[in-house]
C-alpha cells in the first residue's frame, strides 16, 4: 500500500467517495485543510464501524451525513476560546458579500462552463451554511428525510431550507437560468 492505494474494498470505497465528500466539505467550510481534516475524521469513524454498516450500500449517505454534522459543528456551533493570534473579525460563515477568491480563479474562467461554475460557487457562498448544505445534499440526490437527519432538523424545516436556498441561488444565477434552462 505504499502509494496509498486501496488494499481492499474499504480502500476502494474511500477512493470512490473521497472526491465528492471533500468537495462538499470544502463548500461548507471554505478551508481546504479543515475540509480534509473533517473528511478524514469522518472516514475513520465510519471505517471503525465497517462491520456494523453496509458501506457499499449505505456508506456514501452515512459519510455525507457525518461530514455535514462535522462541518456545521466546526463552523457554527464551536467558537474558539483562545487563539494565539486573534482573527481580525469573526465573520462566521454567512458573510453575504464575501468576494470570491480571485487568486484561485484559473485563467480560463470566462469560458462559459467555468463562468457558470464560478457563479454557482459565489452564489453558494452567499447562503447560510445550513441552506447550502441542504441544497447541495438535495442536488446529490438525498431525500428530504436524509437531509433532515443530516442537519438535525425536522423534515419540514429541511424543506424550508432547500426551498430558500433554491430561491436565493436562482436569483443569483438568473442570467444563466434565463439563457440556458437546466436540462
Amino acid at each position: 500500500m505504499g502509494d496509498g492505494g486501496p488494499s481492499d474494498d474499504r480502500g476502494a470505497w474511500v477512493l470512490a467517495t473521497a472526491g465528492r465528500a471533500v468537495a462538499y466539505a470544502r463548500s461548507l467550510l471554505r478551508d481546504p485543510h479543515d475540509a480534509e481534516d473533517v473528511v478524514q475524521d469522518c472516514y475513520c469513524r465510519l471505517l471503525a464501524k465497517a462491520d456494523v454498516y453496509d458501506l457499499p450500500r449505505d456508506g456514501a449517505k452515512l459519510l455525507m451525513r457525518s461530514v455535514t454534522n462535522a462541518c456545521i459543528n466546526r463552523r457554527v456551533r464551536r467558537r474558539p476560546v483562545f487563539r494565539l493570534v486573534r482573527p481580525v473579525a469573526d465573520g462566521g460563515d454567512e458573510v453575504p458579500d464575501d468576494p470570491p477568491d480571485a487568486a484561485a480563479r484559473p485563467a480560463d474562467e470566462h469560458a462559459a462552463g467555468r463562468e457558470l461554475s464560478v457563479a454557482v460557487a459565489a452564489g453558494l457562498r452567499r447562503l447560510p451554511v445550513q441552506q447550502r448544505a441542504a441544497l447541495e445534499l438535495k442536488s446529490l440526490g438525498h431525500s428530504q428525510q436524509e437531509i433532515a437527519d443530516a442537519l438535525g432538523v425536522s423534515v419540514t424545516n429541511a424543506g424550508v431550507l432547500v426551498h430558500r436556498a433554491r430561491v436565493a441561488l436562482a436569483s443569483h444565477l438568473a442570467p444563466f437560468l434565463d439563457a440556458d434552462p437546466a436540462p
Binding site: 473521497a18 472526491g19 467558537r79 476560546v81 483562545f82 461554475s117 428530504q144
Partner: protein
Amino acid sequence: MSEPPDHHPVDDFVRQHLDREAATVDARAVLRRVHPVPAVEPARTRRLVWRWAAGIGVGAGAVAAACLLIVFGGGTPPAAHAATAAELVRDAKAAHSDATDRLYDVKVDRAAPPSRREPVPPFWPLLRDGRVWTRGEQFWFDSPLPDGRHGTFGRDGQGRVWVAVAPRLGLLYSPDETGEPLARVCNLMSLRGPTLMADMLDHYDLSREDAAPGEPLKVRATFRGPGPGEFAATRISLELDPATKAVRKAVQERLAGGEAVATFTFTLRETGRQPDAAYELRGHLDANARVVGPKDLPARDRARGEWLGRFPAWRPGTR
C-alpha cells in the same frame, strides 16, 4: 410548508459544480491521510487500539488508529522525510484533532521578567511547572502547590475554561469570555494542538530540520506578524513523532506587552486514557459542590482572588 418539488433547475448547476470540484480532489491523498497508527507513542499498544475500536469507551483517537489498521493492515507509515514543514504541521494538527489523550510535562522558564515599569500581572504566579493532559482542544492542568494543595484547571469539550478551587467550589468561564485574563492564562498553560497548528500555518514562517530515520521530525516557526498580541509566541519549535506526527516536544517563546515573558516547554510523557470527566469541572469536584459562573461575577472574582493567593508570588529570575 409542503415539501418542495423534487427537482429545480439550480439543482443541476449545484451538482455540476460539486462534480467539478470533486474532480480536483486527490482521492489517493485522502486515503493516505487515513492516519498512521500511533505505534511509537508511549503506553499504547495495537492490542489496546483494537480493544478501543471494539467499542468500549471508544473515542475518535482510537477510531483514527483503528481505521488505519482496517484500511492499511498495519503497514508502515509513508516516509516523512520528504514532507515540507507545512505538511508536517498539517499532519500534526490532524494527529491532535482526534480523541487521543496525551500527558505532557510542562516546564516554564521565566527568565525574562516583564517590564519593571509595569506591575507584575496578578495571574503571573499561575505560570509554573506542572503536567497537562490534552485531548484535542480539551485539557486539564495540574500543578502541586507548596501548601500541599493543587492548582487544577482545564478546558472542557464545550470550550469552557474551569478552575477547581476546592473540592466544593469551582469557577467556570463561558466560551464567549475570551478576554477574561484568567481564562487566557489557563489556556496559555495548555497545549491545544489544533489551535496551535492552525495558528502556525496561518501566521508563522515555517522551516524544518533534517532528521535521521526514526528520529523526531523538527519544525521551527517564527511569528511573521502583523504584530504579536498578548501572550503571542514569537518562536515555536516542535518535535514530532515520525510515525504519528503527534507532538513529542513543543517549545514556545512567548511575549506579553512586547517583552519576552517565558519559554514554555511541553514534553510528551505518555499516551493513555483519561475519563471524559477528567476534562470537565465536575470531574474534580464533590457531587454537591458549588460552581460559580459568569452569572455571579462578584462571587467568581472573590473566589478567583482566593485561589490565586495560594500560588507562590513570582519573583523575577525564580522558578
